[in-house]
Amino acid sequence: MDITWIHPFWALLLPVALAIPLGRFMASVLDPPPERAGHGFDRLTHWALHALGRSKPQAMDWKAYGRAFLIFNLTLFVLSFLALEMQTWLPLNPDGKGSLAAHGWKDASGTMHENADTAVIFNTVCSFVTNTNLQHYSGEQHLSYFSQIGVVMWLQFVTPACGLAVMLAVIRGLRGDRNLGDFWHDLVRSLLFVFLPLALVVAILLAASGVPMTFSGAADATSLEGVHAPIARGPVASFVAIKQLGTNGGGFFGPNSTHPFENPTPFSNLVEIVSIILVPMATIFMFGRMIRDAKHARVLFLVMLGMLLLGMFVAIGAELGHGPAVKGVAQGPLLEGKEVRFGPIASATWAAITTATSNGSVYAMLDSFQPYGGLVPMSLMMLNVDYSGVGSGFLNMLMFVIATVFIAGLMVGRTPEYLGRKIEAREVKLAMASLLVHPLLIVTGTALFAATELGSKSVANPGPHGFSEILYEFTSASANNGSGFEGLADNTPAWNIGTGIVLLLGRFPSMILPLAIAGFLAEKKYTPPSLGTLPTDGVTFGATLAGVVLLVGALSFMPAVVMGPVADGLSRQAAPESPIPAQTAEPGSVQSQSKDAH
């Protein structure tokens, strides 16, 4: 048997094994009982906050908590915008990079526009503040080390911590605490006790396996032919560590995790794939610990795991096949667009895991995937509940849980309740609003760009494949994933502003609405479960939840998906005479295929 088949198994088993103790640990350090808060290691939290004049935690209801979260994010937005605009004058810029806006952009016809384009900064800031890391620029070419560390890496630390903080507040509401916690304390604890130590460990492991970690400028190399070429490097190991741990995904280098400096060895590959999914998995166990209902959390975990497994194996199956286009012509799996070091199984596994979590780091060109192989990452982002972003994935799943509990609860002859609290019109309204946003953004965005020259002129392929490129871009933006399908000339003001807005709307409503629901539920009376109560910890509930997620996903996205990847796949089966699968936007330029860069 082909030994590469082992890859998907350790890629899942290892993080599951690590996530269980990590989840317990997170519950105990992030949600300390009052008598432990501020003592022992937690004294660090208080010292850190003392500097900000806030050492005593304040009781916050959902509005106060939401306000703190929004104020913090607004501040991040403004500061990051300024830093990228002015990176020329800021330190740590050995290669003398200019403002990110100064690079101009190429329009669909290939004409270069030299004038400054602030839209790319808007897009980049939206992208990093929303924990998305959609990149319409190429890191090593356009960003100084200060921007990489002070803006990108800093946001890669704090945005998942923000997501985790809101998740903590929501869980407290679900278990009936009127006081949802103090946002600043939760934020600092998440940084100090979860992301910093984990990133340190991963960075050391990566550096040990050969990932560069330096503040020197690009190295100058002379090739065998005597050509001088600068080789980009930098503080890569620390960057990649948090990029993977915090469901960020934005690469230090344009080619992201295919770049040998980001991912040099099988060992670094193992470390990275575990880091991608570890924290999102652990948060679910943390949830179970915090609500003292490990069984319910386990059901959510298994539903997510089941969908991920399904996605992984469909993608692997599609990529291992020869594909209809080259039937009888080529032998062995198709390798176009894939890093040959990894091959099709690892590429498909990574593609599934990185889109299930809202990570989005890439190591193969999805544009060159088989149609159904490319359908998997798209579908996982459309569902957006499969572990997904740190905190945000759980919150999305929670909205589905509420919808499921409502309908299933009726079917056992009671007015619906979740964790002992009644789900009524107000909660339903908020949950449905939150669920509505995601399809709304994807479908209307795609419709707008597909129907006009905004989109039709920026695709690299005609027909369904080109349509998929547009659909994927909006899906990735709305899901705050950040991976790119490629083949799309997306560094234009229209794309930058369009996806920038989608990024913001994909992030903030789906954080604030669950927070409001948790706040309202916390004020309701608790009813202990009886035999007549819908059990939320069994196989039946798990199957129902999975059914609702898949059905709602299918119903919302089926027409769009059908016109994109499905029509793509079917038409290739119908027309095997066209032997060229799909062209990538910039063929052969493995160096510049970024997470989404052009």
């Binding site: 079917m411 056992v412 007015t415 449905m432 016109m563 089966q573 119908a574």
Partner: protein, 707 residues
């Protein structure tokens, strides 16, 4: 005083039969169907449709399609296309009509029941008692709350009220459909009378308690009549979910048009409307109102008058049932089963004394003592002339007789008689207390008998459980309910009966305050409590309970404090109430699931058909897994999906009106069962249904040459 033209005295027998038949209506009673059809056309009025966003959207779609039809005719489009668009417009209107019909039918059924009740409210003449004691004849509809009327034997009670003087046997069959007359009397917990019922014997004075048109029945009638029907909280929440789904599908279908422009394809607008209507949850949207009304209908069929739709919903959520022991758990009356004499007393002698003491006791317990003595000991118990009978009083807690020879016999509570014996200087036999305790522990009631103050023995009064009550409680337990028995007995007796009947808890020596406290403590633990009561002193507890059901025979205060009134005054009704509530909620959930699960098949029918004629997307024909439109062209697939979508509404009316059967198998098993039926069934059924319809429509289209 103007005398209104009085209607002839209603035929009570006819009213009874009317009420009975209204409780057992056929599903599609021809008269009601006709009424419902007319009403469903009236309901096309957009102002009425606006109350239901899902169907409003369908109506809007129909209108848009009609406009496109006119445009097609004006621009001289292909005849086939015009006919297809007309067919679609017709089907969309039909969908709305079917939904209207479901609601109108449920409403008509409710009205039919309400009418049979309202018919009892004929205009009769009432004898109003003036302040000066003079009697004045007034039409019954002029009676106000607080008026006092005299009702003689044979007369109809003119309005809801409470007996303030006298007792009578009353024939309530016009309201309940049950023939047996009932006793109603002043001063107790059975003083309530209903307008339209007939006094059979005696003469009573009634104080009217309802303003004209505001009786319980009037409120109930308002609840089933659509116009004034208010949506319940759960219905509102579900409507939000349905609206959200509709918005998603509106966006999805509306965006298909611009998306298709990417392929230089211009989609047909009526086809998009057809897709939208297929996707939005029209099935549950069309049946939602009917389900709610049918829930009220079912309550009324069980002779339960709910004061609001919410009351029926709450019933499904109840966690704890407070049931009175007497009449619910045990047969109404305790019966004497054994005489236990004290040392030195003959059993026969004890029987004789007990019988003598019970001669004047007309309570069922008293009679049963006499019966046992006569049957087992052949006691000839005729009181000697000049016997003086002592009635039971709450102070002495005993009753008995003083014989002419100076002998005094008492029977009563063991502790009272023991105290009296000690006070009179007698000794209490050593085995007295153990015997008394043993009887109480067995769940029976000990009754002591004394002769001249000296205790001579104990009578065992046994509580007899109602047949089948254990099975009913087992069923309730499997539903997840806690049953609490409420009794005036002492804790020992109460525990024993509780154990025998299989209830979870009991309140012994229950006072109204104890009941209220128990309800509050359950509620503090997050439980919803239901109880039934009749007395004025039950009123606070009835008001505190989440679901209070008053007996129709009860006092006005009890009825005011409760959410429902049981016309049968049947204490076991509480169990039925819970099942009706659960059924209502389950029906909503099941049909919602079915409606949404249906959509998958409709996508597979409509999407390939919609794109198949356009070259860049024609490969999507492969998605047509049902093999539709093999002859008549793609339009057959779309029409079939829309027809299925419309026809499924009337097909599900029986389920909506009768309700999904509730089975007490535990929530998990119930969910699995309903998911299998309505979830999986909802996915599969339309694949078969649409294929079947297409099998008919397809050849017709090809014959018409519209392909």
């Amino acid at each position: 005083m103007g005398i209104a033209t009085l209607e002839p005295m209603p035929d009570v027998e006819k009213l009874k039969l009317n009420r009975r038949s209204s409780r057992h209506l056929r599903l599609f009673e021809p008269g009601l169907v006709k009424q419902a059809i007319l009403r469903s056309i009236v309901m096309l009025d957009p102002r009425i449709q606006a109350r239901n966003p899902v169907m409003f959207l369908v109506e809007g779609g129909a209108l848009l399609t009609l406009m496109v039809v006119i445009e097609s005719i004006a621009t001289g489009a292909d005849l086939g296309l015009i006919l297809y668009q007309i067919a679609l417009a017709f089907l969309l209107v039909l969908t709305v009509l079917f939904a209207n019909f479901a609601e109108a039918l449920a409403e008509a059924r409710g009205k039919a029941q309400a009418k049979s009740l309202r018919d009892t409210r004929r205009l009769t003449t009432a004898s109003r008692l003036g302040d000066d004691g003079e009697i004045e004849l007034v039409p019954s509809n002029e009676l106000k709350s607080g008026d006092r009327v005299i009702v003689e034997a044979g007369a109809i009670i003119p309005a809801d009220g409470e007996i303030i003087e006298g007792a009578a046997s009353v024939d309530e069959s016009a309201v309940t459909g049950e023939s047996a007359p009932v006793i109603r009397e002043a001063g107790g917990d059975r003083s309530g009378v209903t307008g339209g019922t007939r006094v059979l014997s005696d003469r009573i004075i009634i104080e009217i308690t309802a303003e004209p048109g505001a009786s319980f029945l009037d409120r109930m009638i308002a609840l089933v009549e659509g116009a004034r029907r208010q949506k319940t909280p759960n219905e509102i929440a579900l409507a939000i979910i349905l609206a959200a789904f509709s918005i998603v599908f509106l966006i999805v279908t509306a965006s298909l048009y611009p998306m298709a422009r990417f392929f230089d394809v211009t989609l047909d607008v009526p086809t998009l409307v057809a897709l939208l209507v297929c996707l939005i949850p029209t099935t549950i949207g069309g049946l939602l109102a009917a389900i709610g009304i049918a829930g009220m209908d079912r309550a009324l069929q069980a002779n339960l008058v709910a004061k609001s739709g919410k009351a029926v919903e709450v019933a499904g959520d109840v966690d704890t049932l407070l049931l009175d022991k007497t009449g619910t758990i045990t047969l109404g009356n305790r019966r004497a089963t054994r005489f236990t004499p004290m040392p030195g007393v003959d059993e026969h002698e004890l029987a004789r004394l007990a019988a003598l003491a019970s001669l004047a006791d007309l309570t069922p317990e008293g009679k049963s003592v006499l019966e046992l003595a006569r049957r087992d000991f052949a006691v000839d118990s005729n009181a000697p002339d000049g016997s003086q009978f002592i009635e039971f009083s709450a102070q002495t807690r005993s009753s008995g007789v003083n014989l002419p020879g100076g002998l005094s016999i008492r029977k009563g509570a063991p502790d009272t008689l023991a105290k009296a014996a000690l006070a009179a200087g007698h000794e209490i036999p050593e085995n007295y207390q153990p015997i008394v305790d043993a009887i109480a522990r067995d769940g029976s009631t000990p009754l002591a008998v004394s002769r001249d103050g000296q205790i001579v023995g104990v009578v065992t009064l046994e509580d007899i459980l109602k047949p089948g009550i254990q099975e009913r409680f087992l069923r309730l337990k499997r539903m997840g309910l806690r049953v609490v028995m409420v009794t005036g007995d002492n804790p020992l007796t109460a525990r024993s009966i509780a154990d025998r009947a299989g209830v979870d808890d009991f309140i012994a020596q229950a006072t109204p305050e104890a009941k209220l406290a128990y309800i509050r403590s359950e509620q503090a633990g997050g439980k919803l409590v239901a109880m039934m009561g009749d007395g004025t002193n039950d009123a606070p507890a009835l008001a505190q309970a989440d679901l209070g059901v008053a007996m129709n025979s009860g006092t006005q205060a009890a009825k005011e404090a409760s959410n429902m009134v049981d016309l049968d005054s049947d204490p076991t009704k509480l169990i039925e109430v819970v099942e009706i509530g659960k059924q209502l909620l389950m029906t909503r959930g099941a049909l919602t699931t079915f409606s949404i699960a249906n959509d998958l098949a409709k996508y597979f029918a409509v999407i390939p058909a919609m794109f198949v004629e356009f070259a860049p997307l024609s490969s999507l024909r492969a998605l047509d897994v049902m093999g539709l439109a093999s002859r008549g062209g793609h339009q057959s697939a779309i029409l079939s999906a829309v027809i299925f979508n419309a026809v499924i509404i009337p097909l599900l009316i029986p389920i909506a009106i009768k309700g999904v059967a509730y089975r007490p198998v535990g929530a998990s098993a119930l969910l699995r069962r309903n998911l299998l039926f309505y979830g999986l069934g909802g996915v599969v059924a339309p694949f078969l249904g649409i294929k079947l319809i297409d099998w008919i429509v397809d050849p017709i289209l090809s014959v018409l040459g519209l392909a």
